[in-house]
């Protein structure tokens, strides 16, 4: 099994690298001066990040969005479902691997059964419509193992990330079972197809966010962080970040006078 060996060699090399990276990521980064209720964005690279973000937005307008619109408008609806199923099902081996690494055997079983049940139809079918796909990746596994997100990083082309998820993306490129069996072209192809598919279903939402946000960069950063937290928690209700402490008391309380407030600070 030379392929498997190659994957394993990479795996251990990358795990070492990831250990170093996530160790950096877990160093405390809290600002003692900021109030407890304020969650800092942890974005020390904001200036270069904003620059890369502007580049990514341009690239999206020039390449990804036109591809997504073309796909949405020209691909017959009858073909969209099997295409989406194929792409989704090709993510399941990686999800299975990471669910196992996280010790979540229910989700591992869910990923495996979705994958194998769709095999007779060349992975084009969704075997059980009630069974939602499972998405797990190395970034989520590191989070389950206790690594914090680390600083926010805007990756060129690939989009929003953080130190932990960037390490995860690199590792997944090497340990993805699809890549080991079918070559890295397969994972890259799946990644590009998945990006077009996702984008084709979010055309209006992205336009809406661009139009209505007061700071598009900050909105994307916030959405990314919250979405990753939700993915790590697998949709559980307990939020990792403090839920908004909005109560009726705050709603009904008269605005405190500026003068009396100034004495408190």
């Amino acid at each position: 099994m030379p392929l498997f060996k190659r994957g394993c060699g990479h795996f251990f090399g990358i795990v070492l690298l990831a250990g170093v990276l996530t160790a950096c990521a877990t160093t405390p980064n809290s600002d003692p001066g900021s109030p407890a209720d304020e969650v800092s964005a942890n974005d020390p690279l904001e200036l270069p990040n904003r620059f890369i973000f502007a580049f990514n937005v341009g690239l999206d307008q020039l390449v990804l969005q036109p591809a997504a619109v073309t796909y949405r408008d020209l691909m017959p609806d009858e073909l969209k479902v099997p295409i989406r199923n194929l792409i989704t099902n090709l993510f399941m081996p990686l999800s299975f691997l990471h669910a196992m690494l996280q010790g979540d055997f229910d989700r591992a079983e869910q990923a495996a059964s979705r994958f194998f049940a769709s095999a007779p139809a060349l992975f084009l079918s969704n075997p059980d419509p009630g069974r939602t796909p499972v998405y797990e990746d190395a970034g989520q596994t590191f989070a389950v193992w206790g690594a914090s997100a680390g600083p926010y990083i805007m990756l060129p082309v690939l989009g929003p990330s953080n130190l932990r998820d960037t390490a995860g993306t690199i590792i997944d490129f090497f340990i993805d079972p699809l890549g080991i069996v079918a070559g890295s072209e397969a994972t890259i192809g799946r990644g590009i197809s998945s990006a077009v598919l996702q984008r084709s279903r979010n055309i209006e939402q992205v336009r809406d966010l661009q139009r209505n946000s007061v700071d598009y960069y900050a909105a994307v950063r916030s959405l990314y962080g919250q979405r990753r937290e939700a993915e790590i928690k697998n949709g559980d209700l307990e939020p990792t970040r403090a839920a908004p402490t909005i109560g009726l008391e705050l709603d009904a309380a008269p605005a405190p006078k500026q003068s009396s407030d100034a004495t408190k600070q």
């Binding site: 109030p35 209720d37 304020e38 969650v39 964005a41 479902v81 989406r84 419509p129 279903r201 209006e204 809406d208 209505n212 946000s213 007061v214 700071d215 960069y217 900050a218 909105a219 950063r221 916030s222 959405l223 919250q226 979405r227 937290e229 939700a230 993915e231 928690k233 949709g235 209700l237 939020p239 970040r241 839920a243 908004p244 402490t245 909005i246 109560g247 009726l248 008391e249 705050l250 709603d251 009904a252 605005a255 405190p256 006078k257 500026q258 407030d261 408190k264 600070q265």
Partner: protein, 208 residues
């Protein structure tokens, strides 16, 4: 003897009643919270998507529903975070008005694009409350924009007595209040803590 029989006769059912009632008390706000979200959504859909409405009419109708169903002041203050305390009285008043206007305009216009997609309230969960006298429920609902992959929307409902108010809406785990707060604080921070830059952007959004 008759007295004793009377006490046993009443104690049994009373005991059963206490058992039956006490666990229910812990989550007696859940069903009304779900009903509250369901009825608000039904009314929003029926009034806001009615044919032949000008966008001005739709906005005013949405404003009424928004004030009735949401803890507007609480949300606005939370979203401004620590900058609320530093703001002047005049800035606070203007901010409150702008915040409501911008939300009303944005969401009333979003409703104009609604075309009958199925919305379904599923169940409610008890959530910890920051205030002793208040109960918080998370009402989970599904919005079938695409029948294959519905969008999960969680409504955070705070209640005290008969008063029910929505304090946050999460879409697929993404809290609208947190997102808005992150955006606002980014704008204020990049202007060295000055709230007037945010007010200027909100003014443009309201008028544009």
């Amino acid at each position: 003897m008759a007295g004793r029989r009377w006490t046993t006769a009443i104690a049994g059912p009373l005991f059963a009643l206490i058992i039956a009632v006490s666990p229910a008390r812990a989550d007696q706000h859940l069903v009304p919270s779900s009903d509250f979200v369901r009825s608000l959504a039904d009314r929003a859909i029926s009034t806001l998507t009615a044919e032949g409405q000008s966008s001005e009419m739709r906005r005013e109708q949405f404003r009424g529903l928004f004030r009735e169903g949401f803890a507007v002041n609480g949300i606005a203050r939370f979203v401004l975070g620590r900058y609320w305390r530093r703001a002047s009285e005049a800035d606070r008043t203007e901010y409150m008005a702008l915040f409501e206007d911008v939300i009303v305009n944005t969401w009333a216009d979003r409703f104009s694009e609604y075309s009958g997609e199925k919305f379904e309230v599923q169940k409610a969960f008890d959530a910890p409350s920051a205030h002793q006298a208040e109960r918080v429920a998370i009402v989970r609902s599904m919005f079938f924009i695409d029948p294959q992959t519905p969008v999960r929307i969680d409504w955070r409902v705070a209640s005290r007595g008969d008063i029910y108010k929505i304090t946050d809406v999460s879409v697929e785990g993404i809290s609208m209040a947190n997102t808005q707060r992150d955006e606002f604080s980014s704008v204020i921070r990049s202007n060295r803590g000055d709230i007037s830059a945010l007010l200027e952007i909100l003014r443009k959004k309201r008028d544009g």
